[in-house]
Symmetry: C2
Subunit: 281 residues, 2 copies
Amino acid sequence: MRLCKTIPELRSLLKAVRAEGKSIGLVPTMGYLHQGHLSLIREARQRCDVVVVSIFVNPTQFGPQEDFARYPRDLERDAALVAEIGGDVIFAPEATEMYPPGYSTYVEVGGVSEPLCGASRPGHFRGVATVVCKLFNIVRPDIAFFGQKDFQQVLVIRRMVQDLNMDVEIVDVPIVREPDGLALSSRNVYLSPEERKAALVLSRSLNLAREQVAQGQRDISQLKELVISRIKAEPLANIDYVEILSIPDLKPLDKLQDKALLALAVKFGQTRLIDNTVLEA
Amino acid sequence: MRLCKTIPELRSLLKAVRAEGKSIGLVPTMGYLHQGHLSLIREARQRCDVVVVSIFVNPTQFGPQEDFARYPRDLERDAALVAEIGGDVIFAPEATEMYPPGYSTYVEVGGVSEPLCGASRPGHFRGVATVVCKLFNIVRPDIAFFGQKDFQQVLVIRRMVQDLNMDVEIVDVPIVREPDGLALSSRNVYLSPEERKAALVLSRSLNLAREQVAQGQRDISQLKELVISRIKAEPLANIDYVEILSIPDLKPLDKLQDKALLALAVKFGQTRLIDNTVLEA
C-alpha cells in the first residue's frame, strides 16, 4: 500500500494506473476508520482495480463552533486498517495542500443541501461539495463510494455530480451498526458510557417508526411525533432535528407514499449524532 | 466539422478522440464569432489535435436586467467560420441541456471575482465559473483558450482551475481590435453609428494612460483621473467603472510598480462595453 501526502505524488501514481487501463475507486473519508468505512473500502475493492482511500479532516465543512480541532485522528491505525483490507493507496494531505494561501473557490449545491444538516450546520455542505469536487478532480475515480449514514451528503453529491457533469459513478453503501443498533461514527468515541447507552434511542426510535409504517401508519406528522416523543423520553438526548422528507428532493410530506427519509440529529452532551432510515410504504 | 447539440453526443465523439491519444483544445464562446474568437481558434488549432468550439449564450451569467434575450445569435454563420478556420467540433447545446429542471449547483470564486465586472454585474462570474466548470467536465480539454478582452474572467477561471485542482491548461490570447482601435465584441453590433464613433474613446484613453506611464507617471490616482476625464469628454460615454488594480489579485494600488491592470466598462446608450490594458512600469 502507498501513502501519498501531496497532490502531485498522487497524480503521478494514478496516471500510471490509468495508463494501464485500470479502473479507480475512491473512498473519501475523514479517517479514524471504523467498520462503516471498511465496508465502503470492501465494496470498492470488489468493483475497482485500484482503491484510493482519502483521509482528510476537511476544515471547510466544520463550523467555527464545531469539533474540527478535537475530531479524532490516527493515521497510523488507519493505514494499518486500509492495508489489511486491501486498499491500494491512502491520500492524506495536509490542510495547506488542499487549501493553500489565497484559496477562494467553493461549490454551492442548492435545494437538497438546505434542510436537515444544512439548516443545523450552515456552510457544512458547501465544504463537503467543495472538497469532494477537488478530490474527484485530483483522483479522477471511475466510482466513488459513500455511506448512507450521511444520507443527505449522498444526495448533495449526486446533485453536484449531475449538475456539474462530473464523469464519476456514485455508489452508496448501507449503514453499519453496532450489535446493539448504534450507527458507527468516528464521533462515537466522544460519548461517555451513560451517553453511549442513551444514544441507543436513535436506532430504537427509527425502528419504532418502521414498525408503525409496517402496521399501516402513513401520516407523516404522527410518525414524526412518535419519534420525537420516544427520543424525548431519554433524558440525556437533546433533539437537533427530526424530519421525514421526500427522496431525493428532501421536501416536506403529508402522507407516506412510496418512500421517504426519516432523518434525525440528536445531541448527547457535546456530541451530536445523526442517524436515518428509509421508510417504505 | 461536426456539430453536437447534446452532451452524450459530444462525450462519445471525444471519447474516441481521447482513445487515439489525441489532445483536445476547447474554445468556450457565446457565439456570434468575430476575429477575436477566430484568433483563439487559430491558437487552439496550432496547439491541439482536435479543436472544440462551444457556442452557448449562458443564461446564468446574465443579470435579470441584462441583454440575454437580445444577445446576437447566428449559429449557421458561426459554423461556417469555425469550419473555414479548421475547427473540428462545435458544441452548441440548448439551455435545458446545460441547465435541466432541478438544476441547483454553482461554483463561486471569491476575491478576484469581486471588483470590476463582479461589482457591476452581481452573479456574473458565478455564472461564468459554473458554465466553464461544466464545459471542462464535459469536454475534458488539455488546453482551454480565453481572450484577454475579458481579463478578469481569465483571472477568475485560473483561480477556479487552481483551487478546484482541474487538470487543464489555461491559455489567454491578446485582444483583437478594429483598425481604428475598437476592441472586438459581439456587442459592438448594438452600437448606432454615432455610438460606434464615440466608443473609440475607450482604446484612446487606454493609449493615453500607457503614454503617461511611458513618460514616467506612476501615480495610480492621477492615471485614473486622466482616463476618467478623457472618457467624460465624450458626451455619449457613461462610465460604469475605471480601475487600475494589481495582477493577478485585483487589489487597489497607490503606485505603479512592475505591472497593473487598467480596466474600464463604459455604456454607450444601452450598450455596455469593456476594454483593458496592462500598464507596465
